[in-house]
């Protein structure tokens, strides 16, 4: 600003303001006239100083750079304020509302500076000192109307702020006086007289602006805390302007502000999301996605993580209807998708088990029918085997199909024959569901056989069952079923379904061994099966 060094009188030199104020304030015609009249700069400075409108010029950090005569007069100040921060020179006094009044003027100035747009303050109370001939100055409350205009350099940076302020105290006081004496109803007449209507309207607009500003902040706050993710993308490259906490969580707390989407989230480029944004920006048509899979690299070097999202991309339009950005909102539904998958797996597994069980029942029916040509004995045998299977199911259901205790399975399958007739000795042994089902069937066949031909067919006969587990690294269960005090055992002429089932089950399902012994003293069976066979049926 020092090209006019010849005329420049220092940092409050109003000459230095000249050029930028010209085009808008004077217009083409005024400019031509000034140019014709001689030195442009001098004329401007003189005009500025002579204007009846009060002007003050501020630096971007709100220090007084210069002011015209009218300003010094209306504010009862002198050139001593030049160089001072504006709100050190004028602090609106000690009144209760002073800080708020200062805040409003300051906010308007800062808005003009930060947005590089002129800002109007229709009505503001601001106390200024009034000099008295017979004592120290007193603070006097005044009403003002102010316009704040940013002045830019060739690069578009704000170099000065111009405040044009008008003291409207008389108008405002008159309006108030009449309003208090005659009530608000008569203010319309006053409005007509003094343009109070305009003032009132201006004040309402200003209040609206304040309300809108706080509304906007509240909305931003709400977006910030919304459970769903929200982002505002600007321009054709979808630059992140705003995104909330949920969005940050989704993308792994990366810093996105001011970055184009493809640059901010490079891993999604090949996944079609940028293409979708492009299409929303180009066509203005919203795009919806449901449970869409997106692979996100949430931290550098980490493998991409799968996330499923419900989302909508909507165009953002300016007041002329042009698309200026894309509004992104949605929900991370990853947990829902995973829960649904788990549920589907569980239903499939249940179906598999039911069908398997039906095949088992089918097998029992078929084998039982082959050894019972008489329908009555078939029904009895088949039913008993079905009940044996069902009893073990009951036990497993109680443990949510985690397994069952060997002793409990044995007790369940033999209790119909009288608990005192079967003695069991052995430690608790946890059986897998498949092993529990096998032992359930085996104990049922043994007990049925004992009741028909063995110890349980005579009043004194008993069954002794004892077991132990050896080798705890690869535990092996050894179990013996011994029938005593009954009739001598006789080997069957033909292997029935019962003994075939026992042998096959032990070998095939339990990967173990069994020895059946038909001795004179009574029937016995010795089992040896590994317990660590991780079987799922």
């Amino acid at each position: 600003m020092s090209q006019n060094a010849g005329q420049c009188s220092g940092r409050d030199c109003v000459n230095c303001l000249r050029l930028r104020a010209l085009p808008s304030d004077l217009g083409e015609a005024g400019l031509k006239q000034l140019v014709k009249s001689g030195d442009l700069a001098v004329d401007l400075a003189t005009a500025f100083d002579a204007s009846p409108n009060p002007y003050v010029v501020l630096t971007p950090d709100l220090r007084v750079a210069g002011a015209n005569k009218a300003y010094f007069e209306v504010t009862n100040s002198t050139r001593a304020i030049i160089g001072q921060p504006l709100f050190a020179a004028f602090d609106s006094g000690p009144g209760e509302e002073a800080p708020e009044n200062v805040r409003r003027v300051k906010a308007s100035l800062e808005k003009a500076r930060d947005t590089r747009q002129r800002d109007h303050l229709a009505l503001v109370r601001f106390s200024i000192p009034r000099a008295r001939p017979d004592g120290p100055p007193v603070m006097e409350e005044r009403f003002w109307s102010a316009t704040h205009t940013p002045i830019l350099n060739a690069e578009g940076e704000v170099v000065w702020l111009l405040q044009h302020t008008t003291d409207i105290t008389e108008l405002e006081q008159l309006r108030r006086r009449i309003e208090t004496t005659h009530g608000p109803a008569s203010s319309s007449a006053l409005d007509a007289m003094i343009g109070g209507n305009v003032l009132e309207r201006a004040r309402i607009v200003q209040e609206d602006n304040l309300r809108l500003a706080s509304e906007r902040n509240r909305l931003v706050e709400m977006f910030m805390q919304a459970p769903g993710f929200v982002a505002v993308l600007a321009g054709p490259t979808h630059v992140f302007q705003f995104y909330n906490d949920a969005y940050r969580r989704l993308i792994g707390y990366r810093d996105l502000e001011g970055l184009a989407s493809a640059e901010a989230l490079p891993e999604v480029v090949g996944q079609g999301f940028i293409d979708l944004l492009d299409s929303v920006f180009a066509t203005g048509e919203s795009v919806y996605g449901q449970a869409s899979l997106v692979k996100l690299q949430r931290s550098p070097g980490a493998p991409p993580e799968d996330a499923w999202v419900d989302f909508v991309y909507q165009p953002i339009r300016d007041s002329d209807g042009r698309i200026v950005g894309v509004f992104v909102q949605g929900h991370d539904v990853t947990e829902v998708v995973k829960a649904t998958e788990r549920q589907k797996l569980m239903i499939d597994e249940l179906n598999h088990r039911v069908k398997n069980t039906l095949a088992t029942v089918q097998s029992i029916a078929m084998q039982t029918a082959r050894s019972h040509p008489d329908p009555r004995t078939f029904a009895e045998s088949f039913q008993a085997r079905l009940m044996a299977l069902s009893h073990t199911h009951d036990l497993l259901t109680r443990s949510h199909w985690e397994g069952a205790d060997l002793g409990a399975v044995l007790a369940h399958e033999t209790e119909a024959h009288g608990p005192h007739r079967i003695t069991q000795v052995g430690p608790p042994v946890a059986l897998t569901p498949a092993a529990a089902l096998s032992f359930g069937m085996i104990f049922h066949e043994l007990a049925t056989n004992a009741a028909k031909y063995g110890a349980l067919s005579s009043p004194e006969g008993r069954v002794l069952v004892d077991w132990s587990v050896s080798d705890h690294l690869h535990p092996v269960l050894t179990l013996s079923w011994r029938e005593v005090d009954g009739p001598p055992a006789v080997p069957p002429a033909r292997k029935g379904f019962g003994s075939r089932l026992i042998e096959r089950n032990v070998r095939h399902d339990l990967a173990g061994e069994v020895k059946l012994d038909y001795a004179n003293t009574g029937f016995s069976a010795e089992f040896s099966t590994p317990l660590d066979r991780g079987k799922v049926s």
Partner: protein, 125 residues
Amino acid sequence: MTQPLSGRRVLIVEDESLVAMLLETILEDMGCTPVGPASTVAEGLSMVAADEPLDAALLDVNVAGSQVFPVAQALKDRGVPFVFSTGYGEGGLPDAWRGQSTIQKPFTEAAIRDALMAAMGVENV
């Protein structure tokens, strides 16, 4: 009706002995000779690798907690036709095996015969 599958040797891979016994009974009724049954994938693989002649196989998809597909692949490599048996139906098969002849539990004799014949390309007579 004659027995179109008479004398065929059919491998059974099935982890539940009761179901395996059912399959054996049905196969025997059709005049087939059951081979196995294998109760695990490992056992199934060693039976396929053995030099025993096999005309076909019935494979339970879920065998003792594992999927039977390695056995299916070994059979395919050996040129032995096979049928999956499953509680899930054909929808439970992965894409690579979809379209393979499948029977659902519980079984009927007719379903097993038809599936085996389809897999083996045997015409009913």
